[in-house]
Amino acid sequence: MSDLQTNDGKRPLLQRFMTSDDNLNRLIIISLSIFVLMAVLNSGRFVTMRNFRSMSYSFPELGLLSLGLTLCMITGGIDLSVVGTANLTSILAAKIMAEQMPADATGSTLWLYLALAVVVALTVGLAGGLVNGFLVSTFNIHPVLVTLGTWQVFSGIAIVLTEGYAVPGFPEQFLFLGNARLLGLPVPLYVFVVFAIFVAILLNRTQLGLSIYLIGTNITAARFAGVRVRSVLIRTYMSSALLASVAGLVMIARTNQAKADYGESYILQAVLVNLLAGVNWAGGFGRVIGVAIAVLTLQFLSSGFNMLRFNNFARDFTWGVFLIAVMVFNYVMNERKARREANLAADNA
């Protein structure tokens, strides 16, 4: 805040277009630059209705996974099991639809099976989140180790269930979730927006959200302030797993098949999205709007690379370098800010 006051006189015009959040401003600038860069490199192909549509089909999966991670990171934890959760739950749903449901099911029978598939997926997802939250909060085990372990266990169960094969073929009514359009916009986009709003409300308007921020800022202080840390952490990891399960359903609806090892690289990208969004890895800070912009930014890059015929390996390389670069950049900016504030304090004194 002190920052704003010092700059007030110097750049009133620019200020009008900027938010009061430094991190967010920076992110918007990065995002726009990448957009412009990709538009220039792929002139005539990037800024097209077709590309926008294809991008809005593909980013919601990563967006949903990232939002789950956001909640955990704000508490100072991390959830590496999101991809495992997404795959396990979507395979269960896939098995119900592709193997249990009679092939000639129509009308209410079909919808009943679809409902069953979705309910099973979400319930198992919540149970997985409960395990994560329980281990992290009750035994005070490092979230990295817990979720690395459950990631393997969830994926392991998924592999055992499918013996490594894909489970293909879902009814059209389910594929709607991943492929259809509503009022001209892709359905996955609606799913993402609905859940993003849900998470934003959870963080900003509920007691749980406040507790999540408090725990991430200072867990001891949160305890003394009467926050029921254990219950909050369990609910946080359950929310993360729920978002992951929804992401899983969108994934299989889009690809029309479920695989135990789908989207393993999403975990790196989800972490990258959160860091880019300015979510603090040590906890206490993070905003949904940032995550939304960050996931879009990554999608611009990804689609742009696709058009430039970058292969998957080049993309992995770029994600890795980008991840480090973002962190170093944030570090440098924060150091500068700290120095500026220290100078200011010295001047005032």
């Binding site: 991390i78 281990l135 035994f139 005070n140 085990i141 490092h142 990295v144 180790l145 817990v146 690395l148 372990g149 459950t150 990631w151 393997q152 266990v153 969830f154 994926s155 392991g156 169960i157 592999i159 055992v160 013996e163 490594g164 690289s265 975990i267 790196l268 972490v271 990258l272 860091l275 890895w281 040590a282 292969n311 390996f313 080049a314 993309r315 992995d316 390389f317 770029t318 994600w319 890795g320 370098v321 980008f322 991840l323 480090i324 962190m327 170093v328 570090y331």
Partner: protein
């Protein structure tokens, strides 16, 4: 004696022996010389990686980039030797590989120690960057025919014996001695050098370490460089053991290694962990994976069991701790 019985290492050893006996009863071929030698050999690569993970965990970090360092070192070395059609002593292959490992370790170390960034996230980034770099800019093809010195090394065994039952010859591979030397070196560093004591101190209490006059930057720099060195050696050994150089290899094995180290008693950020514990943990994991096959359990169960082992290994000590506190 009483002190020995109470250690974590003792429990791991007991479980290891118990498991071996069970597997041996179900399938007597477990105790054949051939299988024991093979077990020891399959310890080597996981074990050398685990020594690096041990240091990282003791100091309170977590690193998952070491398999990428291993595979990059191994593959680049393989490519280079193939290009020059190398025929000299195999030690050069080792030196090249471990130099590449050290170089990549230094990159990790510089990022972590200069910018004070979380180790997990840095290594997540470098894992992807290192492997992606090689696959994008070097090559993606497997080298199936290693150079002469590497092939010769892969056959270097001592105590060669011919098994009466099958008529196959088996021997103890020299890589095991490389592993032992590195284990001794690591134990010596941890126990008798200033930087080694610093590693423990750092995991115990970061601030106190700084106040005690340790340079956290230097300690962290040493840890991640050393991890790179070990990964370089593990990579080239792996290549010799499987007799190829595959740029897609090793990555994905990080969980197995971390599970082994945690099983051996290293606690993240607890400033605890010993080389003996790690050696036992690695042996236990190897026996478990090996026994899955001997007991006829399909290999697709492996990922599930690794995860369960890791979860149990991190949970049990915490339960004990809580019980002790409440008692």
């Amino acid at each position: 004696m009483q002190k020995l019985v109470k250690t974590h290492e003792f429990y791991v050893a007991v479980i290891l022996i118990a498991l071996s006996v069970i597997v041996g009863v179900v399938n007597p071929s477990f105790f054949s010389i051939g299988n024991l030698f093979a077990l020891l050999k399959s310890n080597v690569v996981t074990g050398i990686f685990a020594l690096g993970v041990l240091l990282v965990l003791i100091a309170g970090g977590i690193d998952i980039s070491f398999p990428a360092i291993g595979v990059v070192s191994m593959y680049m070395t393989g490519k280079f030797l193939e290009r020059i059609e190398y025929g000299g002593p195999v030690i050069l292959a080792f030196l090249i590989s471990l130099s590449i490992g050290i170089l990549l370790g230094v990159i990790n170390a510089s990022i972590i120690s200069t910018f004070k960034l979380p180790t997990l996230i840095v290594s997540l980034g470098t894992l992807s960057a290192y492997q992606g770099f090689v696959l994008t800019f070097v090559d993606t093809k497997i080298i199936n025919r290693l150079t002469e010195p590497m092939v010769n090394y892969s056959r270097m065994e001592i105590l060669r014996t011919t098994m009466e039952s099958s008529g196959q010859t088996t021997g103890l591979h020299v890589s095991i001695f490389v592993y032992l030397v590195l284990a001794l070196l690591t134990a010596w560093i941890l126990k008798y050098t200033m930087v080694g004591r610093g590693v423990y101190a750092l995991g115990g209490d970061r601030q106190a370490t700084e106040r005690a006059g340790f340079s956290i930057r230097k300690i962290e720099f040493f840890i991640y460089t050393y991890v790179g060195f070990l990964a370089g050696v593990a990579g080239i050994l792996h290549s010799a053991h499987v007799r190829n150089a595959n740029p897609f290899d090793l990555v994905g094995s990080e969980l197995n290694v971390i599970a082994a180290t945690v099983l051996g008693g290293a606690t993240i950020g607890g400033g605890r962990g010993t080389v003996v514990g790690t050696l036992l943990g690695v042996m236990l994991i190897t026996v478990m994976n090996n026994s899955l096959i001997l007991l006829g359990i399909p290999s697709y169960w492996q990922r599930f069991t690794t995860g369960m082992i890791l979860l149990i290994a991190v949970t049990v000590p915490k339960i004990n701790e809580m019980r002790r506190e409440s008692a």
